[in-house]
Symmetry: C2
Subunit: 223 residues, 2 copies
DNA sequence: GTCTATAAGAAGATAGAC
DNA sequence: GTCTATCTTCTTATAGAC
């Protein structure tokens, strides 16, 4: 019931109570605080960000934060679940389009890259702190959500193979993981005002993913 | 000169002295301690791992660790620099083979996946804690090493394009980043004793990367 | 090379006044 | 909804005996 040792908080030992995003009162003030915290978590990492820093950023004292949240974990919980809820909703819409597997997969790649901008902070936290956060019982739903997303992708890849659209000799699960990794890790270097926007990123990746990097020419063998 | 606020260490404030891997005395005992620490860093994250835990793992007390290392940062520094030195050496060997750009790139992909097993812990730390560690001046060499590696890859991709081996319409730098991401992030889910070994991973990725996922068939357009 | 003992302070969280 | 004040525990790191 207790989960792992957590960050050894102190005071009158509070073993990370429940207070999911959905259950908490959804005030604008609260949402604003979550946004501020998300930026700090993304920049410095979850553990390296102190509740004092979050409070500073909001112009209040650390104790006042506990009027809105019962723990630091609750804040990051809200950051992550907001992102995941949105992502899964978008995937579902793509699935209901009636397109063939290749077009659905194309849409899903675009959806993935499309979240880089609006959910940049949440994705960064998910990348960097997932390994730490997953050890706490309260974040089990993250694992569940990941499994659900994997199922959606793998089903599409298999459908594409069955329809003769995708090569049959690739492993669906492995292929999904590589696509997923390529999309989300881009959050590390993607900059909204850089040379490329997320549409260009998606187009580029879709080209290489479907048609490959090679031209078919070989200098050593076929020539 | 000081860098950022660091983990606010205490005692007689020690602002993270220099003591790079190469400069420290290379005893077997020391190497063993670094290995133990690397596993903990990978499992729990750098910040969440305490010097007490590292000492526990080694069967000594935390104070005794400071006979071998002057700070926790020095330990992780040694973990990362050992990996990077090995990686860059392997890349250089591949470059000197005299093969064409496609074969060299193939070798480099294999080298990448091939490090997942021997350097699993270091790669995990690099993935999860890079964002945090990079803020300290002493880890500037990480950025330099990354730039060197990028240069090696981009040069090969451009050479392949010039030789007509790779499609000319892809962005070399972007392509490199996506390849890099796909390889290293695999450390998150790759398990040495799982269904696939690193050779199979590399082969699979090389197939999709060069030849693409699509078969050329289209259900909607070409009928 | 390890232990004992401890410094000095930063952490998350709480209680109650305003 | 925020502040004041504070508790308790954990942290990295040190000094010197053995």
């Amino acid at each position: 019931m207790v989960g792992v040792t957590t960050r050894k908080n102190s005071g009158t030992a509070t073993p990370a109570k429940r207070q999911r995003a959905s259950s908490g009162p959804a005030s604008e003030r609260r949402d604003h605080l979550v946004k501020l915290a998300a930026e700090l978590f993304a920049r410095k990492g979850f553990q390296a960000t102190t509740v004092r820093e979050i409070a500073d950023e909001a112009g209040i004292l650390s104790g006042s934060l506990y009027h809105h949240f019962d723990s630091k974990e609750t804040i990051v919980d809200e950051v992550l679940s907001t992102f995941l809820d949105d992502l899964i909703a978008r995937y579902r819409a793509a699935l209901d389009s009636g397109k063939d597997a290749r077009d659905v997969l194309t849409d899903m790649v675009r959806i993935g890259f499309g979240t880089l901008e609006p959910h940049r902070a949440a994705i960064t936290v998910m990348q960097n702190d997932w390994n730490y956060l997953r050890q706490f019982e309260r974040f089990n739903y993250l694992v569940k959500a990941e499994e659900e997303v994997e199922q959606i992708w793998v089903t599409q890849i298999k459908a594409g193979q069955a329809a003769g659209l995708f090569r049959p000799d690739v492993d669906p699960k492995l292929t999904y993981r590589m696509i997923r990794d390529t999309i989300w890790v881009a959050v590390r270097w993607f900059r909204p005002n850089g040379r490329l926007n997320t549409n260009a990123l998606a187009d580029h990746y879709i080209t290489v993913l479907f048609d490959g990097l090679a031209t078919g020419e070989r200098t050593t063998q076929q020539a």
